[in-house]
Symmetry: C2
Subunit: 231 residues, 2 copies
């Protein structure tokens, strides 16, 4: 639990210079959140960003009627809230813990001056943000160009990738939350999953588990092809 060694284990800081390691430890502080606690709201002034030590949080937007669109779910090791650090002032979305969560918090100004002394970390940060941009681009593509079953297939395959390519997924969120990631309703998601089951592409098991049975078909769906309702 020594912060110094702890911090260096995050990929973001691997390449920090020896002489700045103490500074890194100094500027960061620990923050703790209970389940379902608001970490920041859209429009809040940005004071810094977090790296997750343990737990799980969601970044989301709210419509005027209160419907939510989840932009991303972050787990241990991942930074969040960094956008507001570099572009200026305010958080562009909400952040809320899904489980009990512990983070290291880095004040914006201190972190920027650390970056100026450690360009390698700035490069790491650029790479983190690049990956995020990429993900957002494909989310936009999905929302604009694909229908729900196709988005669902893409998401299932993504989840499988994230857990090392296994065919037996264990969802760590409710199906309602998953619908919010896919930009649809719980009932629509349920029907889409039902159809996939009927076609033998997946099996639904208790305790939020889903078995992928026909990867090939799912890949086709994910790439935008329509496989349902042909005959």
């Amino acid at each position: 639990m020594d912060p110094a060694t702890d911090l260096l284990s995050f990929p973001l800081f691997h390449s920090i210079k020896k002489e700045n390691q103490a500074e890194l430890t100094d500027i960061c502080s620990r923050r703790n959140y209970k389940r379902h606690e608001m970490i920041y709201a859209e429009g809040d002034e940005c004071d810094g960003f977090h790296i997750i030590i343990s737990g799980k949080i969601k970044i989301y937007k709210l419509s005027i009627e209160g419907k939510e669109q989840i932009l991303q779910i972050f787990k241990e090791g991942e930074p969040f809230g960094e956008v507001a650090v570099f572009d200026g002032k305010r958080f562009p979305a909400y952040a809320e813990s899904l489980t009990e969560t512990h983070t290291y918090f880095f004040p914006a100004d201190d972190f920027i001056s650390l970056l100026l002394k450690n360009p390698a970390i700035a490069l790491n940060m650029l790479s983190v943000m690049s990956i995020r941009l990429k993900r957002y681009k494909s989310l936009i593509e999905d929302l604009a160009l694909k229908e729900v079953p196709n988005r669902l297939a893409a998401h299932l395959l993504y989840l499988s990738d994230m857990s090392g390519g296994t065919d037996m997924l264990t969802l760590d969120i409710s199906k309602g939350q998953m619908a919010n990631i896919l930009g649809t309703m719980q009932s629509t998601l349920s029907r889409a999953l039902g159809k996939m089951k009927a076609h033998g592409y997946v099996e639904l098991h208790p305790q939020k588990r889903i078995l992928l049975k026909n990867r090939e078909a799912l890949e086709k769906l994910a790439s935008g092809q329509k496989l349902f309702d042909s005959p």
Copy 2:
């Protein structure tokens, strides 16, 4: 037309160190594209990124049926293609010139080593990418949570912002391309604009010009409120 002074005029390079200015000039080269030329395709290996000297390009995704979703349109002074430089290997979307376009091209490796010597430029780049992430977040929000008329209102107000807050917009793209930005069909866009006109929110003028007549109503629409079909 001296590249050296030219390059320094881009905000990205304002803070470059004196001793690296020559290097900056050395590594970059000029590229020229005719109207409607493909600059790179999704999945292409990334060799570097561009800054636009003059002209206009679109970044877009294609669905399997060939429908396009425009992610962004870039004009003079803006960098593009930088995501692939920092995260690795391949371009996540297509880039195509909309008009005759001239750019400075920076090879990825050379640029990264320049960044390591000029952390301030890395910070500028982080800020550029932060702004992009923010824009994508709100595009996702719009696509997932709002209907076409609301997205249209938001986009009109955005265009007005971009041109200094004027009420008389001059579109620099066709309505068909605009529909692709909004994630909808040309015909749907046309109907939505028609409704806005009928309600007196906008006036449609020849030569791609649109006059915003009721900003307040447009703001309400943009924030997700439904104003149509009440009586």
